[in-house]
Every structure is written in structure tokens, then in C-alpha cells.
Amino acid sequence: MLTIVKLVQSLVKALHSEGTPGQLAAGIALGAILGLTPLVSLHNAVVFALIVMLNVSFPGAMLGWAVFVPVGFLLDPLFDWIGHRLLFTPFLTPFFTSLYNMPVVPLTNFNNTVTLGSLVFSLVFFVPLYFAARWGVTRYRATIGERVRQSKWYRALTASKVYNVYRLFRPES
């Protein structure tokens, strides 16, 4: 239940943040990588750094992460299949062999079928997700966004101390 409440909280905060729909969508798409791929991987440190460093919506990233974690669990068999097909494709073997014997790269666990499959899937999925999210945020703000902003429970949420912490990472315009 707490997870669902936090998810709703994150969703609302993200949708009403000051960022543009593009910033929010980029945050969601980057967060989706965190959610779709196994979290404890070196590439996710890079993704996290990008979320922090790039002027994208941090709440959007957290929203994308939260939404796509269960999706990642559900799609693990697909990721496993994709990774297996890629890692055992003969013409890619020299490429993977080079990566495997290169410093640092093996620490990314790229040679794990689920890690590679989920990363490839989330990178391919990044662009469509970005555009879909941007369209959705624009539509939301144009239709029911203002009414939600005027509601009592939204004001209660924004008045909390958590909101102040969040403002530290809000997108800059």
C-alpha cells in the first residue's frame, strides 16, 4: 500500500513540477532504464549520474523507475531471450570477446543475458517512451492539470518538507 501511495505521490509531483514536458519525459525515459535493467549494475551508475547532471526532471526519473521496475520483472524472460540471442550471435562474438577482455567493461555485467537484453531493450525503448511521455504530459497539463493543482490534497503535499528536498533537484528553466 505504501508503495502505491508513494507511486501516486511521485506521479503527482512529477506531473506538476516546473519542468517542461520534454524535461519530464526525458526523466521518465532515463528512469525507465533504471527500472528495466537490474539495478546493481555499473551502467545504472552512469544513468543515475546523467539524471542528476542533465537538466531533466528528477521526479520524472523516479516516476519512470518506479513504474518500470515491475515491468522489468515481467519482461525478464524476454530480456533473457534477447541477451541470449545477442551473446551467441557468431558475428558479434569477436566484439563481445574484445569487450570481455577490456578493463572495466566486464564490471558492467554486459555478458549476462538479462542485463544485456534489458539494457538493449530499454535503449531501443528510450526514444518512443520519450515522445509518448512528452505527449501525455502535455495533454495532462492542458486538460485536468490545473484542477488537480487547485485541490486541497495537492496543496498539502506541496507544503510538506519532502517537497522542499525535492525542489533541490527540480528542473531549471
Binding site: T20, G22, Q23, P38, V40, A49, V52, M53, L54, N55, G72, F73, D76, P77, F79, D80, G83, H84, L87, F88, T93, F96, T97, S98, L99, Y100, N101, M102, P103, V104, P106, L107, N109, N111, N112, T113, V114, T115, G117, L168, F169, P171, E172, S173
Partner: protein, 586 residues
């Protein structure tokens, strides 16, 4: 409105976050590495690997492990070994490639076979390599048919003889049917000869000849034709006789077949006797095969495990991925020629004790070289050797070439040997201090292994709660006087069809004692069974035999009678012709 791409003010918190991560790594690195080592070790061995303390000193490239315990994958409450301290001198740079290269490992205080309080086996997880190998070796060991030593009651039991299981009865019934069928066929053959018509015609011709004159050429020609007909009829009889002769031979063979079936029934009936094993090799198998097979199975387990983790060749190969909440997937290794292997232990110096419970445990030293996950990259086999005044052990895992060759051998003298619980016998054998030998070679899938035990101070203990019988009392009397023990077991052949042999000095002693005791009883039981077979089989065999004889006699007699009639008619005709054509001088 322009939107800036970078959020510069987040650099500070990000660096702080990275710094925090670094501090956490410094604080928890040892714990993380310890858990990873336990997890990986458990997956490799197939039993719990526990480490009390692990310390990483990256600056000096040292890893120190204290209190290492590796549970046995085969015995519930026993450790494979424990080690007081392991100090590894590792290369730091290969760690960046996720490769572990240990230049030198010093293992101190190794103790084998120590007891533990909890079950350390991981047999409930057959998903990994170790679980698969364990299941395979268990199936391999189940191939051996170990005979049971039946001494529980010492009674020789005569099983029930079911007439449906006797082969002589249906054989005799089939013979009777065949005799009847042959008789009908021969009777039909005799009828088809139409000998009566030929004989009657000859008699009529003879009657005319008696009244004819010598110049009656027509009568003479008719007589010659009648003789030709008689000859043709006799040829037909000859052909039928040949058929009868061969058919009679078949019937006689049938009689012999019934006799053979009766002999088989005797053998079958003897098999129903629940006899104790009287052959020395079978007794050896019954007594020591389970222990010997367990030794071979363990050696095979470690060898196959080594082959799974140290495969030959440089092709990409997949292992089960790391355990995590998400699906583990498969982790694929891509070895490359002239690159470092994923794991390499160049040299290990081992200091161990074989009998840690002894008042003054002796210390031994061993050396392991070239243990690697990619033998084709290392280019040399893995070698182990340990030698001391009372011990010699060596092993070679050669996976450099396509066909793996694994050999191991050990001879240990003057150590306390484990107690044997003899199957089917309510007694235990304590060999005390003695010599144990194990030789094991696996080339491809061809196995050759030998296990032996020698002791001169054997002690026997009888299970007080077990049921007593005359036979077990006698066996106890025999065995309890024996103070020497010599057991030799061997396995040869392929993994798919191995052959097991076991011999010991106890086999012949037990066999001779059993033969002396139960020989008369076995003979009496066999006599009873033969009489029972006769009682059930003879009422069917005797009529069949009589029927065959009767058919043969009857058909032979009828053929002789018909042939006699033909001969007589021809003889009469020829005599009359000679008489008519005799030249009479005036």
C-alpha cells in the same frame, strides 16, 4: 526561452554521493567480498562455504581469509575441510577486467572431515552446475547392481512352484499336437498313394496270364505295364517313407526338446530357493561395494565438477548468472587467446592435518599449481602433490586439449580409517589405523579407478539390538577372529557402462563357512524341488512321448505292409512271365 542542458549545481551533491559511495565501499568492502566469496564458493562446491573473516588489502594486493569452512556435499554433518587462514597474493590490475589472478596462496591449518552441527549440503538446488553434477554422479552410482547378503534368518526357503512357469508342460503339449498332426498328414499321404488299385490290377493281370498261351503277346505286354505301375507305386511309397523318416526325426527332436525344457525347469526351480550368497566375489560386493562406490562417486563428482568449471577450449560458454531478485539469466564468458583467464591460481602452498583428533596430529604439506577456469589459456594442466613419510598424493587435471584427462592417486598410511557398517550383517568393522589407497583416472569418458584398504588391527563390534540367528552367529564367530583386513575394489569401462569388482579377505572366510553350514540343506531343498517339478511335468510329458512312439510305429508298420503287397504282386507277375517265356525243347 532557452533550456540549459546541464544542471551544474548538482555536481556538488553528485560528488558527495560518489564520496559517500566510496566511504561505504571502504567500510563494507570486506563484508561484501566475504559474502560474494561465500556465495560463489557455495555455488562451485555444491555445499555451504562459510568464512569468518575476510580482509582485502588492495594496497598490498593481499586478501586474507580466516576461519574458512567448506561443508561436504555428500555427508550431512561433515565438513569437506576447514582452514585456519588463507593468505592470497593477488594481482590488482586484472580485477579491473573482473579477473582474479592469485600469484601465491598460503593455506594454513587445513583439516579434513571435521564434524559440523548443521547440514551443509545444497542438494535441494539442482539448478546450478554442482546440483546437476551431483545428480549425474548419483545416477551413475545407481547403475551398479549390488547383491544383498541374505543372512537375516539363515533359513533356506523353497518358493512356490507355479506350473504356469514351467516350460516343459507347454513343450510336451505342443509335441503331442505335432505328433497328431503328423499322423494325420501321413495317413492322408498313404491314402493318396492308391496302392490298392495297383495291386488289384496286378492280381487281375496275373489271373489272365495263368490262362494265356506263351504266344499271347498282348497278355505279356499287359503284364509288363502292370509291373511298371507297381514300380511307380513303390516309388511313391519311397517318397512318402522319406517324409515319414524326416518327420519322425523332428518328433524325436521334439522329445529331446521336452527333456531340455525339463532341465531348464529344474534350474528355474533352483532359482526359487532363497539361498545365501555362497560365492566369494558376491560376498565381497555385498559387504564393501556400497562403500567403494561411494568413494568412486565422490572422486567422479569432483572430477566432473572440475570439468564443468574448467572446460577445455576457447569457445564462449554460459554459466548460471548471479543469484538476485531479478531473473539470474546466464553469464557468458568470452576467453581470448593470450589473455588472462577469468580465474588463475598460480601456486598454492598447503599445510594440513589428516587426523586432527589424534593426540599429536601430524602436519603435512602440499602444493597446488595452475588452477584456472580457462586451461586452454594457461596452457598447462593443474597439478597437485603432497608427500611426506606416510603420505603420497598427487592429481593432474589436464583440460588443455579437447579430450580431458584427469588422474588422481593417494596413499595414506597410519591414519585412523573410518568404521564400516557391513550391509546385511548386524556388526561393525573398525579397521583402526591402517592404509587407504585411492587411484582414479578419467580419460574422456573412460574410467579406471581403484580403492583399497589395509589394516592389521581390525576390531569387530556386534549390534546388540539386531536379531540373532544361527547363520549370523556363525559368521560372527568367523569374522571376530579375523584381525587383518584387505579390501580391493575397482571400476573400469566407460561412464555409461562401468564394471565394478570388489574383493576382500573376508569373502572366502564367510563363503567357506556358509557352504559348510548350508550345503546339506541346499541339497535337500534342491531334491524337493526336483521332485515337485517331476510331479507336475511328468504327467504331461509321458503321454506325449508315448504318442510320438505310437505314431512312428503305426506309420512305419503300414508303410512296410503296403510295400510288402507291392513287392509280392510284382514278384508273382515276373515269375509268371518267366514261366511263359521259357523255351521248351521238344
Amino acid at each position: 526561452m532557452t533550456v540549459r542542458i546541464f544542471r551544474w549545481r548538482a555536481i556538488g551533491p553528485l560528488l558527495l554521493f560518489a564520496l559517500l559511495g566510496g566511504v561505504l565501499w571502504l567500510v563494507f568492502a570486506d563484508r561484501i567480498a566475504r559474502r560474494a566469496a561465500e556465495r560463489i564458493g557455495t555455488a562451485i562446491v555444491g555445499a555451504k562455504v562459510e568464512i569468518q573473516d575476510l580482509h582485502i588489502d588492495l594496497k598490498n594486493g593481499d586478501v586474507t581469509v580466516r576461519g574458512l569452512t567448506v561443508a561436504s556435499p555428500h555427508e550431512a554433518l561433515k565438513n569437506l575441510f576447514q582452514a585456519d587462514e588463507l593468505v592470497a597474493d593477488i594481482d590488482v590490475v586484472p580485477l579491473l577486467e573482473k579477473k582474479v589472478v592469485i600469484d601465491r596462496l598460503a593455506a594454513n591449518g587445513l583439516r579434513f572431515g571435521t564434524p559440523r552441527t548443521t547440514d551443509g549440503r545444497m542438494a535441494g538446488r539442482p539448478d546450478g552446475i554442482s546440483g546437476r553434477v551431483l545428480a549425474e554422479t548419483q545416477r551413475w552410482s545407481e547403475q551398479f547392481q549390488v547383491p544383498a547378503l541374505q543372512l537375516a534368518t539363515g533359513k533356506i526357503d523353497v518358493g512356490t512352484l507355479d506350473p504356469r512357469n514351467l516350460s516343459a508342460i507347454p513343450a510336451a503339449q505342443a509335441l503331442t499336437a505335432r505328433a497328431d498332426s503328423s499322423r494325420r498328414a501321413w495317413q492322408t499321404g498313404l491314402d493318396n498313394l492308391r496302392l490298392g488299385a495297383a495291386v488289384d490290377s496286378a492280381k487281375a493281370t496275373l489271373a489272365r496270364l495263368r490262362t494265356a498261351r506263351a504266344t499271347d503277346l498282348a497278355a505279356l505286354n499287359e503284364a509288363r505295364r502292370a509291373i511298371d505301375q507297381l514300380k511307380q507305386a513303390r516309388n511313391r511309397v519311397t517318397v512318402l517313407e522319406r517324409g515319414v523318416t524326416s518327420g519322425a526325426a523332428v518328433l524325436r527332436a521334439g522329445v529331446a526338446g521336452v527333456d531340455s525344457a525339463k532341465q531348464r525347469d529344474y534350474a528355474f526351480a533352483r532359482g526359487l530357493l532363497k539361498l545365501p550368497s555362497l560365492d566369494a566375489p558376491e560376498i565381497g560386493l555385498a559387504l564393501f561395494a556400497p562403500t567403494a562406490v561411494a568413494q568412486f562417486q565422490r572422486a567422479l563428482y569432483w572430477t566432473q565438477l572440475a570439468r564443468a568449471h574448467m572446460p577445455p577450449g576457447l569457445l564462449p560458454r554460459a554459466d548460471v548468472g548471479p543469484p538476485r531478485t531479478r531473473r539470474s539469466g546466464s553469464t557468458v564468458r568470452f576467453p581470448r587467446a593470450h589473455a588472462l583467464p577469468g580465474f588463475l591460481l598460480r601456486t598454492a602452498e598447503l599445510s594440513f592435518q589428516l587426523d586432527p583428533t589424534a593426540p599429536q596430529p601430524k602436519r603435512y604439506a602440499g602444493r597446488l599449481t595452475g588452477l584456472t577456469s580457462d586451461p586452454a589459456l594457461y596452457g598447462r594442466p593443474t597439478l597437485f602433490e603432497a608427500s611426506a613419510p606416510a603420505i603420497s598424493a598427487g592429481a593432474m587435471l589436464d583440460h588443455v586439449h579437447a579430450t580431458a584427462r584427469d588422474t588422481a592417486g593417494a596413499t595414506v598410511q597410519g591414519v585412523r580409517l573410518p568404521v564400516f557398517q557391513l550391509p546385511s550383517l548386524p556388526m561393525r568393522l573398525d579397521p583402526g589405523q591402517g592404509t587407504a589407497q585411492l587411484g582414479f583416472a578419467l580419460r574422456g569418458d573412460t574410467i579406471r579407478a581403484r580403492w583399497g584398504v589395509r589394516s592389521t588391527h581390525v576390531q569387530w563390534a556386534r549390534d546388540s539390538g539386531a536379531a540373532r540367528s544361527t547363520v549370523t552367529d556363525l559368521v560372527w564367530t568367523t569374522l571376530s577372529r579375523i584381525t587383518d583386513l584387505q579390501v580391493d575394489a575397482g571400476v573400469s569401462g566407460t561412464l555409461a557402462s562401468p564394471r565394478l569388482s570388489v574383493r576382500s579377505n573376508l569373502d572366502e572366510a564367510i563363503a567357506a563357512r556358509l557352504r559348510a553350514m548350508v550345503g546339506d540343506e541346499v541339497a535337500a531343498a534342491e531334491r524337493r524341488l526336483r521332485a515337485e517339478v517331476d510331479r507336475q511335468v511328468d504327467p504331461v510329458i509321458a503321454p506325449a512321448r508315448a504318442r510320438v512312439t505310437a505314431v512312428q510305429t503305426e506309420v512305419t508298420a503300414r508303410l512296410a505292409e503296403q510295400r510288402g503287397k507291392l513287392d509280392q504282386a510284382q514278384k508273382d507277375l515276373e515269375a509268371r512271365i518267366r514261366e511263359m517265356t521259357r523255351i521248351r525243347l521238344p
